[in-house]
Each structure stands twice: as C-alpha cells, then as structure tokens.
Amino acid sequence: MKSKAAAFLFKITLFVLPVLIFFEVIFRLGFYPIMTTSTTYDMKMRQVRNQHIRNVKLLAIGSSVGLYGLNSSIIAHNLNSSYYNFASWGLQMADISDMLKDYADEYNPQYVMICSSFADFTMPKNESYNNYLNVNSHIRNNFPEVFYFKKYYSIHQIIRRKFKTYPVLLDEWGGSCVPTNAKGKNKVQFVLHNVFPTKYTGMNYNYLDTLSDFLQSGHIKLIFIQAPIRKDCAGTTAQQQVITTYFNQCKSIVEAHGGTYLNYYDNHVFADSLFIDQYHLKSAGSVVLTNEIVRDLKGIVK
C-alpha cells in the first residue's frame, strides 16, 4: 500500500512536471507573472530584482506624479548618493505606507522622498500589492515564478498584459519620462483624479501620518515634495481654499514627525506649458522641478 501510494504521488508529479516546465519557459520568453494589478509596479519590481538593488540611501516613492516628475540622472549625479525611484502609477498614501514598512528593511534607506500631489489622496488602498509584499524577499528576488501560482492569473491575462499595456520605459534608477509621439504629444492617456477631496482623503492623511511616524521611529528622514499643479486646478477661490487646506494638512503631518516639507506649487516657475495635464509634468517640467529639489536638498541629504 505504501509503495502504491508513493508511486501514485510520483506519477502525479510526473504529470504536473510539464506544466511547471511550461511556466518556466514562458517566464524565460518574457511573459512574466502578474504580481499586482499595477503594470508599472510589477515592471519596477522586476527591474529592482534584475539590477540587484539592495541598499538605497535616497529612496523616492510616489504615484505617476513622482514617476514622471523626478529626473533620475539629475538627482543621482548631484546628490552623490545611491538613489532609486520606486514610484509607480496610482500609488496612494495608504499603499506607500505599507510599502515603506517593507522597503525600510530591505533597502535600508536613510532618506525617503515622497513626490506627491492631491491625486495621491483620493483612492482606497490597493490590496493587490499585498500579493507581492507578503512574500518573503528571498523568494520574490530569487524565485519570482512563484507568482504564477500564488494568486493565479490566467495565461490569457498574462499575454494581454504583455501586449496591451501602456509604454513605460524605466531608466536605470526607476524613473521615467512621459513618452511622446513624433509631434511631441504624450502617448499616455492618464486616468485623472480631479475630484478632491474624496471619501478616501481622510484615510490617506492618516496613512501619511502613520508612515511619517514609522520613518521617524526608524530614524529615516522623510522628505515630502509637494509637486506643482497647473494653474487651472486652483482657478477659483473655492479651489484655492481646498488646495491650501490640503497643503497645510500635509505640511503639519510631515513636520510633526520631524520630516521636511517642500512645496513647489508656484505658477510662475511652473508655467502651463510644462504640464501634460493638471498635475503630470512633461520631461522639461521634470527637469525644472528636479533642479529645484536638488538645490533645496543639498543641505539636507548628506
């Protein structure tokens, strides 16, 4: 009976083996497993793994505002510290808070720079990031194939993601520029979150508070960059009031935990021509913003 059961298990293993080999083959062919619902995030985590990024002195994070707003080479060459931009599309403060708890251990940052705008305070937490963050870092760095099975996404979905996703080209520090076509117009159609505040805004403020507290207790310096927004976002007095309240709220939370709050909302420096839309900067805009940030951080990042 023993040997029959063992033989049965062995045969089942043989039956399953071609399936496992199949997944290894599609992995090698570039049909990567879907880890989270964010294409950019998955792509970025693959880059982190492939470049063996371990210790990052200055860790940037945020949504598409941070992804496209920070010019990597300017930061890397002027601040003289190891740098990586973990920003990806759609991250909310709630998501960032969860991620930083994981990244603090894995990348040992001394400075965390959040480049953000009001859109990062408008949506609920994306639970799909837990599918990646809950996995032991050794496994996710050395055996990413596990994500084919951890939360199963069909091969049809994997193929669809590979061929039907937005073009995001990451530089070696995880940053990116908005891709433009031959006429200089951006190819990316952003889903804008222009309604502010939303029912999730308060919750995201709480998460900003949580992450600020977490970083402070870990002796990691938080630098909160308030990214510029286009003039028409605060065109009326009422809008201006909402934006001012939002700025003050962020400032008070960050500074209460010993963080640095830098606000670049300045319509004179950031003219409308530097924006793709209400809060995403063009490549030229990101250069202007990053130069300003670098100038201000020189005394802070040592």
Partner: protein, 483 residues
C-alpha cells in the same frame, strides 16, 4: 483554504504522504491525522469558530451515547431535544437572527410602532449548515435505532469535521461515513487515478465555466436596470449554469479528495440538466441535501398528512421545499425559491407521476425530440426560478422579470469580456456534450474505454491547458460557501 488554491495543494500533498506512506498501517493514527487536518483546514478560514465546531461535536458525541444507552424514552427524547436545540438554535442564531429581527421591525412598523430592537453584526461560521445537519442526522438516526453511536471520540469528531466535505458538503449521514472511519482503508491505485480525473473535471467546471460566467452574471445582476432584456436572459441562463458548475465542480473535487484518502462519500449531482421533469431534477440536484430533507422532513410530514391524499402530499412538498429554501439563507428570495420549486411538483402530484422515473435510453447518441423538449422545459423553469435565488430581494427579482419581457429581448447583448464569454460558451457546450455521452458514468472523465494512452493524456492536458489559459479575470468564491 479553498480547493483551487496553492495552500490546499501543499496541504493535501503533505497530508496524503503522511496518511498513506507513514501512517498507512494504523487506522487510529490516520483518523487522528484526519481530525487534525480537518481542524487546520477549518482554522485556515477563521480559527475563532473552530472552538464552536469542537464544542458542538463533543456535545453531540455524548448526546449520541446517552440516547443509545438510555431505556427511558422520555429521557432519550430530552437528550435529542438538547441536540436539536443546540444545532437548530445555533443555525437560527447565526443565520436567521437578523432576518427575524427585521421581520419583527417591519411588523411593528406597519402598526406605527418603533420598537427598541436592533440587528447585530453576526459572522456566520463557515460550513455551519453542513456540519449541523450531520450532527442532527446522527442523533435522529440513533434515536430511530438506525445507527449505533460510535464510542471512539476521534471517529465522531472526524465525521463531523471531515475536511473534504466540511465547508460545502456533500452532507453525509453517519451510516455512510462513520463505518468507513472505523474500518481500515485500502489504497486503490486505479481508483485514485480516477479520483484525480474527477478533480480535474471539477476544476474545469469551476475555473473555466463557473468563474467566467460569474464575471458576466455579476455585471448583469448589478446593473440589470440599464441593460437590454437580451442581457438579462443571457444573465439568467449563465447564472443557472454558474451555480451548477460551481457547486457540482466543488462536489467533484470534494468527492475526489475524499476518495483519495479512501472514503466514498455521497454523490451530490447526477447530470441534473438532463432531468425530464422537476421531480427528476431534484433527484439529481444537490442529492445529499434532498435526501437529508426527504428522510428527516418530507417522509415524516407525508406520514403525518397521509390521510389527506394528494393535498397531504402537496402540503408536505411545499413545506419541505420552503424549508430547503430557508436552509440556503435568511432572505425572502430563498423562501420564494423553495416555494416555487414546491409548486412545480403540483402538476406531477395531481397526475400521479411524482415517483415515475422516465428512463433515458442508455445508449442513444442523440436524445429523442420528446426527451429534449422535457429537458429544455425543465431547464427553463429552473432557470427562471434561479433569478429569484440570485436577486438581493423579491422586488428586485420581480423587476428583473418585468424588464426581461421587453422588446430589447431581441437586441444584441453588450459583452465586455468577449474572449471570456466565448470561452465560457464553448466550454459549456463541451461540458454538455461530455456529460450526455458519459451520463451513465459517475463523471465524464471516466474514459478508460479510450485505449491509446496518448489520446487520454491529450484530453487531460487539453483540460489543464483550458484551466490555465482561460480562468476568469477574477476568481469567484464557491457559491455554496456562504450557505
């Protein structure tokens, strides 16, 4: 952990290895492993209710022995009463408390009285409807003298919490499962291979058909007010298929898993969509539940009302099906679902054809026109009643029906996930063809008659390919987990 998840695969491979390879010689050790495994399986969902499951099992174990040993009929009835009170009481509390409170509030509301009573946030212990029915049938069978109670506590606790059927059935009676737990199990290689095929078929039904249907039906039932009638009709059709493939898929996996560790548990579905009438349908649909109710509710009712002829049978059937409806959940929709199914029996009762089993010719390749007509009529009736089952309220169900019969019935339904829909429809056709051709076997993948191994392997890998490639964008929970 659900059957179609990696944690379960890991759990079961380990379990299987320890069960057969290490503990193969000791029934007692195997039973202890079953018990521990079942508790781990249950606690994986929510450990808090594990203590409730254990407490309820231990109480019923002693009640069973007490009922058997006592010669005093009144004392035996008293002990049975305690068991019924505990089982039905916990069901009423966890499942129906808020429902009754809402009825009470509504009743007082009609009298313009605002009573100071409130509903509570009550978490439903997983599988309570299933394991409670096991303990109740155990006590009733002992009281009736149909089974002897087991004196082995591990055996009884394992019977109540037997993990392959703990969460969503099949609901096995003690006389089926307890003797198997007490006797030595033998590993049968060819049977195990067949069990794997049944599990594969169950996964195909659940992942390729049910989950893909669920994407569409969720959309239809959530937005039925804005959709054309053709979408509503398609939604009703696909929901009927979804419930069947989801639940029968689950049952196939449960039966396969149980059989891999040497247990034969009750078959739950017998190709219900080939039923010739509604009575035939219920002989083939959720068989373990239907037979439970037949034994412990319908038969006693039919005996009680035996002097009233057909009227007595109709009353018994209606009560039986209303209770079956309530078993599904605390909502008027389920009560109406049961009531309507009961009503559909009335023509059969009046024509004296309730127990007439129409034989399907076993070897015909194509069903006769009459058979096909009967199957279609039964399916359509069942499909329309499933709209009530799926709706959040009775008024929503009626609104759905109202919108279903409109000129847009002949328009093209909008479909968002086209690939998934095409796959689902093709897979449904494949399933029906396979089930029809294999309708005399326990499951359609019993294809030993195909001699070339390569062809059989191609069929197995073909199904694996479909499962891996076309699972839905969102994996849905098993429908019957919430009951």
């Amino acid at each position: 952990m659900v059957f179609n998840s990696i944690p379960f695969v890991v759990f079961f491979v380990l379990f299987f290895f320890i069960y057969w390879v290490i503990l193969g010689k000791s029934v007692k050790a195997q039973n202890i492993l079953i018990l521990l495994g079942s508790y781990v399986f249950y606690a994986w969902w929510d450990w808090r209710f594990l203590f409730f499951l254990i407490g309820s099992s231990v109480l019923n174990y002693f009640l069973g022995i007490g009922i058997y040993k006592s010669n005093n009929e009144r004392y035996r009835t008293f002990l049975l009463g305690i068991g019924l009170f505990q089982g039905l009481g916990s069901l009423v509390f966890f499942k129906y408390f808020n429902f009754f409170i809402n009825i009470l509030i509504g009743f007082f509301g009609t009298l313009n009285i605002k009573p100071d009573i409130h509903t509570f946030d009550i978490l439903l212990p997983l599988g309570i409807s299933f394991y409670t029915f096991r303990t109740i049938s155990y006590l009733l069978d002992i009281k009736r003298g149909q089974v002897k109670p087991t004196t082995d506590c591990v055996v009884f606790l394992s019977y109540v919490s037997f993990f392959p059927s703990l969460i969503s059935g099949p609901i096995d009676k003690a006389k089926t499962l307890v003797p198997q737990l007490e006797n030595k199990r033998v590993f049968n290689y060819s049977k195990a291979a067949d069990n794997m095929r049944q599990i594969l078929w169950g996964l195909f039904k659940k992942i390729v058909i049910a989950d893909n249907c669920a994407v569409f039906t969720a959309d239809v039932f959530n937005h039925y007010q804005t959709l054309p009638a053709s979408s509503l009709l398609l939604g009703a059709f696909l929901f009927t298929i979804q419930v069947y493939t989801d639940f029968s898929g689950y049952s196939d996996i449960a039966i396969g898993v149980a059989s891999l560790i040497g247990f034969n548990i009750t078959r739950n579905f017998n190709y219900p969509f080939f039923a010739q009438n509604i009575a035939d349908f219920w002989r083939r649909w959720h068989i373990s539940l239907t037979s439970w109710f037949t034994d412990y509710l319908f038969n006693p009712l039919a005996i009680y009302f035996r002097d009233y002829g057909n009227t007595g049978i109709i009353i018994s059937i209606l009560l039986n099906f209303i209770i079956i409806g309530i078993w599904h959940g605390a909502n008027w929709t389920f009560i109406l679902f049961g009531f309507l199914h009961g009503c559909m029996f009335i023509p059969l009762i009046l024509r004296g054809k309730l127990n007439t089993k129409k034989r399907q010719s076993e070897n015909t390749l194509i069903p006769s026109a009459g058979m096909l007509l009967n199957m279609a009529a039964t399916f359509i009736l069942v499909m329309f009643v499933f709209v009530i089952f799926r709706s959040d309220s009775v008024s929503q169900a009626f609104d759905y029906y109202h919108r279903l019969f409109s000129p847009t019935l002949f328009s093209k339904p909008p479909i968002a996930e086209k690939v998934n829909m095409i796959v689902a429809v093709l897979a449904i056709i494949l399933m029906f063809v396979a089930e029809w051709l294999q309708r005399n076997r326990e499951h359609p993948l019993q294809i030993d008659f195909i001699k070339p191994f390569a062809l059989r392997a191609a069929i197995y890998y073909g199904l694996v390919f479909l499962i891996l490639t076309f699972s839905a964008t969102k994996m849905a929970d098993f429908v019957y987990l919430k009951f």
